[in-house]
């Protein structure tokens, strides 16, 4: 069966500096794939190449069988990839409702469903996004990505820098999405939380895939070797 997301030997550069040296991964529909690796190993860059925010110079990036080469970012997003970027990055001056409205595309996800997933947002609808707490902004970033009704949700460090109680709230939301059959590519440092949701994992080191397999097969030895835990 054609994987929903397929990367094969992807290479990419930031100007003259090579950042990816051969990333390979496959994500099937309905699957949760954890993209792992220490800091600076190319996880966010890999996501940038998937969204075409950074052009890959070699290899192949396909989504639902469509070659994303030379496709502009907005078309990639419209194909059905919803990004929750690192550092939240909501549209600060726009209100919560406006942040959600601006991303809305036809599908089952609407504002009411987002509020059911993250009830905190309900009371903040008219508030400018920049005045929300970090956790609420993260919930809004996830909500905004879901409003695009994506086939694939990409979470890049969705819980970084948040208070433990807020992280729990966000992970609960992600677990709910998984149970609903949402395909997710997730980058995070919390092995325990990833273990609870991820079907498979891919580990990057120095911009290349060095390990991939079922999450259950990720032994402490492998984690220690590539993730330093």
């Amino acid at each position: 069966m054609t994987p929903l997301l397929h990367l094969r030997d992807v290479t990419a550069f930031y100007g003259p500096v090579q950042a990816l040296f051969g990333v390979t991964l496959n994500l099937a529909e309905g699957e949760v794939l954890a993209l792992m690796g220490r800091n600076g190993m190319g996880k966010t860059t890999t996501i940038a190449t998937v969204l075409r925010l950074l052009a890959h110079s070699g290899g192949e990036v396909r989504f639902a069988g469509v070659d994303l080469h030379a496709m502009p970012s907005h078309r990639v997003a419209r194909l059905g990839i919803g990004l929750v970027p690192e550092g939240r990055r909501c549209f600060g001056p726009l209100s919560v409702a406006e942040n959600l409205t601006v991303a809305a595309r036809p599908g089952p996800w609407d504002m009411a469903r987002i509020c059911a997933l993250f009830p905190r947002l309900q009371d903040r609808m008219a508030q400018p996004a920049k005045t929300l707490s970090g956790g609420e902004q993260q919930m809004l970033a996830i909500g905004r990505a879901l409003m695009t009704n994506p086939r694939l949700l990409v979470l890049d460090e969705a819980t970084e820098g948040l208070a433990p109680i807020v992280r729990q709230e966000i992970w609960a939301g992600v677990r709910h999405l998984r149970a609903a059959g949402q395909s997710i590519l997730v980058v995070d440092k919390s092995l325990a939380e990833l273990a609870a949701i991820a079907d498979r994992a891919v580990i990057l080191e120095r911009g290349a895939t060095v390990w991939s397999g079922n999450f259950a097969d990720l032994t402490p030895q492998i984690a220690n070797r590539y993730l330093g835990v």
Partner: protein, 333 residues
């Protein structure tokens, strides 16, 4: 009620207050027989309308166009050309179809807006492929091309401009009566403000603002910045073109000066002075500009030096413009 909604409500109230002040000034002037003040207020309404057009592109789309005088001038020239041919009873052109002159505002405005919109589509399609200082330069270059074309167009007055001796007509009104012409300009300004407010709060307007804040982030949720900006630029050009048409009728005269970079700068000053991305910004900016011109213009011909200082102070200490000063911390795009 959230802060954002409260801010919008306060901005709407302030807009209504400014428009009421302008209307009140005209009512008092009408009672006291100060026709000149009514003409000044009409000029404020027309310049504000031009600013409302630019504000859509600049304030909400982040497009620093230094060529909006092109649309202002095109609107003016369409009006002048149609009116002068109507006066002479001749056709503007016979090929590819016969186009007769007109002195009906309701017929002239759509043509002025269409011509300005077509120019905006062409200029925008090319200039929006660039950004930053290059965008400013490309828009300026197009406006200057049209300026020099108008100068070297002897059929319509060339450098001397084109006069038409009767103001165009509007059904049921005597447009030569200052207060009635003011009413037309004011009504169009209010309509443009309503359209602008509706656009800004629509999904289109939100996407335009999102793309202004961060193009990549906007693209990541499926927004195509180029198409959005082009549509905004065309609507912006059409509104400014309508203002140019009204300005031509106010003076019963059009000249290449309407397309000069000075005019582009002045329209930009209205917006920056009043508040970039503020609904009533261009109205407040145009009013203060005309007021300063009237009060200080008689004292010294160097009154624009003072305007420059005021503009400098606004940019340095009140980036939200005069409206931002009043509304303080309320939402500002």
């Amino acid at each position: 009620m959230g802060k954002g909604v409260k801010g919008m409500a306060r901005e709407t109230l302030l807009t209504l207050a400014i428009l009421s002040a302008l209307l009140g000034t005209v009512i008092v002037a009408q009672i006291t027989g100060e026709g000149f003040v009514i003409t000044l207020a009409t000029k404020v309404a027309i310049f504000a309308l031009a600013g409302v057009g630019l504000n859509l592109a600049l304030g909400y789309g982040g497009l620093v166009s230094f060529g909006h005088a092109a649309f202002f001038g095109i609107g003016g020239y369409v009006t002048g050309i149609l009116a002068s041919h109507a006066g002479a009873g001749t056709a503007v052109t016979t090929l590819p179809f016969a186009l007769m002159g007109s002195n009906e505002m309701l017929g002239i405005w759509p043509m002025a807006m269409l011509a300005a919109g077509a120019a905006a589509l062409l200029i925008g399609a090319l200039s929006l492929r660039t950004s930053g200082v290059y965008f400013i330069m490309v828009t300026l270059a197009f406006a200057q091309m049209l300026f020099y074309f108008a100068i070297s167009w002897p059929r319509y007055g060339g450098e001397d401009g084109l006069s038409f001796y009767v103001r165009n007509s509007f059904p049921g009104l005597n447009t030569l009566v200052p207060v009635q012409y003011f009413a037309i300009c004011m009504a169009l300004l209010v309509l443009a403000l309503i359209l602008s407010a509706a656009l800004v709060r629509s999904r289109f307007g939100l996407a335009l603002q999102a793309a202004r804040q961060n193009e990549q982030r906007a693209a990541a949720v499926g927004i195509r910045p180029y198409a959005l900006r082009l549509v905004a630029f065309v609507i912006s050009g059409m509104i400014t073109g309508l203002a140019g048409s009204l300005y031509a009728d106010l003076n019963r005269f059009v000249s290449p000066a309407m397309m000069s970079w000075h005019m582009s700068g002045e329209i930009m000053v209205f917006v920056i002075l009043g508040g970039v991305g503020r609904l009533a910004g261009p109205v407040a900016g145009a009013a203060v500009f005309i007021l300063l011109e009237h009060l200080l213009g008689g004292v010294s011909e160097y009154w624009k030096a003072l305007l420059g200082l005021l503009l400098l102070a606004i940019v340095l200490f009140a980036p939200g413009g005069l409206i931002g000063l009043v509304l303080r911390r309320d939402r500002h795009v």
